[in-house]
């Protein structure tokens, strides 16, 4: 068994008591630029894959004109969005209209800070990482609400109100199922949550309780991401394009970017809480197999698990129809919330009596 240490490079900040201002600024800038590059590459790849996956579900070919098999399609799209004119509606609230895409994108960028790609690659390892994630990710709602409010478009306004009611209610079940998992892991630190699963993922070890928590978390996170079947704020056949109807060019791209960054981060959190994060897959007893698995770098493991989650989200997205707004609220308040509360009680009962698997 490998002992993973928690000395990641982010700890440099804590050690640099005698570093100059220049060094700190350089450090922050380098983090920002790395994040930006990672995100833009990641989003381009995911958008390409999503379009290909959607095409496969619909018996189509998908993008295949720009580059080999269309792999440069996302680059072309990005260039198009960059060069497009920024249009502000005449009677809109100019300041809020300008600021709301930024709010969305910055909220999702800030959550990127705590994502552990491997034991050594993490920007900041704060002790209450998971709490930080849930606090910051819900800031994005503000951006959506303001975008709909400031657009001077009634459809956008309906969309914004829908978004607010949907996101705020589904935030509850997300936090409750995170709390359920914290009862098991006994820590808020994300690296420690991962390391607590060295002997097996929580989804196996926690009986039915973690399975229920996983399902609730999964459903609620699809709702948080505004994907079908919970894409009411964007509801194409009802509201046109929803809160980003009146946005074009880079401002629209910000919303788009934020959506995909959120997709990545939420699936990462699912992987970390339930599927063992960057830990390799082991079968007890097969030492050769386990060594082989250990030789694959942790970042590959994480991205692999995340991509499976993202594929399932896409699969659901391209199959199911949309819920109605009252069914959506009903599902949360009458079904998911009571279940997750009961689940939490059950989890604490399990943990107090040490009833989960140790392997």
């Amino acid at each position: 068994m490998i002992n993973y240490s928690l000395d990641n490079f982010a700890n440099l900040v804590d050690n640099s008591n005698n570093s100059t201002v220049f060094e700190v600024v350089f450090y922050i800038l380098s983090i920002f630029i790395t994040c930006l590059i990672f995100i833009s590459i990641f989003v381009m790849v995911v958008v390409y894959i999503e379009r290909k996956v959607a095409a496969a579900f619909q018996c189509r070919v998908g993008p295949n004109r720009v580059g080999w098999k269309g792999i440069l399609q996302s680059v072309a799209d990005l260039l198009k969005l960059l060069t497009k004119e920024k249009i502000t509606p005449l009677y809109s609230d100019k300041f809020l209209h300008f600021i709301s895409p930024m709010l969305c994108i910055s909220a999702s960028f800030m959550t990127l800070l705590i994502v552990p790609f491997s034991p050594y690659i993490q920007i900041i390892n704060i002790d209450m990482g998971i709490l930080y994630w849930s606090a910051v990710s819900s800031l994005g709602i503000l951006g959506i609400l303001l975008a709909g409010w400031s657009s001077y478009n009634k459809w956008s306004l309906i969309s914004a109100v829908r978004a607010a009611s949907q996101l705020i209610s589904y935030e509850l079940s997300i936090i409750l199922s995170v709390l359920t998992m914290i009862i098991f892991t006994n820590t808020l630190n994300i690296q420690k949550i991962v390391l607590s699963q060295l002997n097996g993922c929580w989804i196996w070890r926690g009986h039915l309780v973690t399975l229920i928590a996983f399902t609730i978390f999964f459903i609620a996170s699809i709702a948080e991401l505004n994907k079908i079947p919970f894409d009411l704020p964007e509801g194409e056949s009802e509201l046109g394009a929803g809160f980003h109807t009146e946005y074009s060019g880079m401002q629209f791209a910000f919303f788009f970017l934020a959506e995909y960054v959120n997709l990545f981060i939420t699936s990462t959190i699912i992987v970390i809480l339930f599927l063992g994060g960057w830990l390799p897959w082991h079968i007890s007893g097969f030492s050769i197999f386990n060594e082989l698995m250990d030789s694959i770098p942790p970042i590959i493991w994480l991205l692999l698990k995340v991509s499976i989650i993202i594929f399932v989200i896409m699969w659901i997205r391209w199959t199911l129809p949309r819920l109605r707004i009252d069914h959506l609220i009903l599902l949360e308040w009458k079904f998911l919330l009571p279940t997750s509360l009961a689940n939490m009680v059950l989890a604490s009962f399990l943990v107090l009596n040490n009833l989960y698997f140790y392997v």
């Binding site: 619909q58 309906i158 079908i228 056949s237 009802e238 509201l239 129809p321 949309r322 109605r324 707004i325």
Partner: protein, 385 residues
């Protein structure tokens, strides 16, 4: 005598402006460029939050004056104009005009012509319903059914193209016959298609009908009781969903519909679910009809008159109606004995089905309005003509 000629503006400024506190009703434009009004139909909705208080349909964005054009073209040439009305059942529209003319002239066609016409009318019904199924899925937010529906329509379109020479506006059924005889491999291909579509319909059921989200969104949404449906002049699947088995294929039995076995599908409650399920079942019934007919198409000519013969209807009123994929299409001709109709009028099923929405959708949400519009299956060029 009291006649008030209002304008739309007067209606829109009729809001209760005194209310300052609390929630306020507001008007919103749904359309003409809205993804789920299926064309250039415009609804002005009076909303309270998301709940519809009043709904005012506004038409005329694609009004081409086909009835006025019809007064200046010959009877034969009017046939191809009907292609442009309800473009998803264009062959059935052609048949309606041809039937009116043949009735007025007491022209007798042979069995081959009638059989071919019936087969193609049923093909059009399947085309229309598969397409509708895809669009219904899209309106509810599932994108994938749209492509499946289009795929199944496309296979049939290529079969039709081989015989009719066109994909959408066929101009196939003519007064006194059909434009071409059927292609030699038509029977083989249509049999293949029947084999192909049967499992696909099961798949449709799996993907959409069995889906719990769809069931929740269609059940008890947009209820149209039978008395209201009759009063609103709805026909076709919309009326049948309310429990009235009015199907001109049975009741009037034109073509060779009296020689084939098929069932009329009716609903019980008249909600969106009934309207949905009726169309799914009608696809199966249409397949049955085609299957019974395609093996024994009698021999004969495909056109009993010369195409170039000028048509002059006797003086008087001539009328006939036909069951399209969406309801009863009536053609009314007032003739003065000349080559052109003195007045020609189309009783379009979509125009008459549309208006029940002003009663059905009140008190429901925008999402429900989308469902209802989708289950009414409106073709806007046919509404406006």
């Amino acid at each position: 005598m009291t006649i008030h000629l209002k304008t739309l503006n007067e209606i829109l400024h009729n809001l209760d402006e005194k209310k300052h506190w609390g929630t306020k009703e507001y008007f919103i434009n749904m359309g003409p460029q809205h993804p789920s009004t299926h064309g250039v139909l415009r609804f002005v909705l009076k909303l309270e939050g998301e709940i519809i208080k009043e709904i005012i349909p506004i038409l005329g964005y694609i009004h081409r004056g086909i009835e006025k054009i019809g007064e200046s073209v010959s009877y034969r040439n009017f046939v191809h104009l009907t292609d442009r009305c309800d473009y998803f059942s264009s062959i059935i529209n052609n048949w309606a005009v041809s039937r009116t003319i043949e009735q007025a002239l007491n022209m007798e066609t042979n069995d081959r012509i009638e059989t071919i016409r019936t087969i193609f009318a049923e093909i059009q019904r399947i085309q229309s319903h598969t397409m509708w199924w895809g669009v219904f899925g899209m309106d509810l937010g599932a994108f994938t059914p749209f492509f499946y529906g289009f795929r199944d329509r496309e296979f049939l379109t290529s079969i039709v193209e081989e015989t009719c020479g066109s994909r959408l506006t066929m101009n196939y059924i003519q007064p006194g016959g059909v434009l071409y005889d059927i292609k030699s491999n038509f029977i083989k291909r249509i049999k293949q298609y029947i084999q192909y579509l049967r499992p696909r319909i099961e798949e449709y059921e799996k993907l959409i009908s069995d889906n719990v989200i769809v069931q929740k969104r269609t059940e008890n949404i947009g209820i149209l009781p039978s008395e209201k449906a009759l009063s609103f002049g709805s026909t076709g699947p919309v009326l049948r969903a309310s429990g009235i088995p009015l199907d001109l294929r049975k009741n009037d039995s034109y073509g060779v519909y009296d020689k084939v076995k098929f069932s009329v599908v009716i609903g019980t409650k008249g909600d969106s679910w009934d309207r949905y399920w009726i169309r799914i079942e009608e696809m199966r019934q249409s397949l049955n009809i085609i299957e019974q007919l395609v093996d024994n198409i009698p021999a004969g000519k495909h056109m009993v008159t010369k195409y170039t013969t000028k048509i002059k209807l006797p003086v008087g009123y001539h009328h006939s109606s036909i069951e399209t994929a969406r309801g009863i299409l009536g053609i009314f001709v007032a003739s003065d004995g000349m080559e052109n109709p003195y007045r020609i009028h189309m009783r379009s099923p979509n125009y008459n089905n549309l208006w029940s929405i002003t009663d059905m959708a009140v008190g429901l949400k925008i999402s429900d309005l989308v469902t209802i519009v989708s289950t009414l299956d409106l073709i806007i060029p046919d509404v406006d003509r």
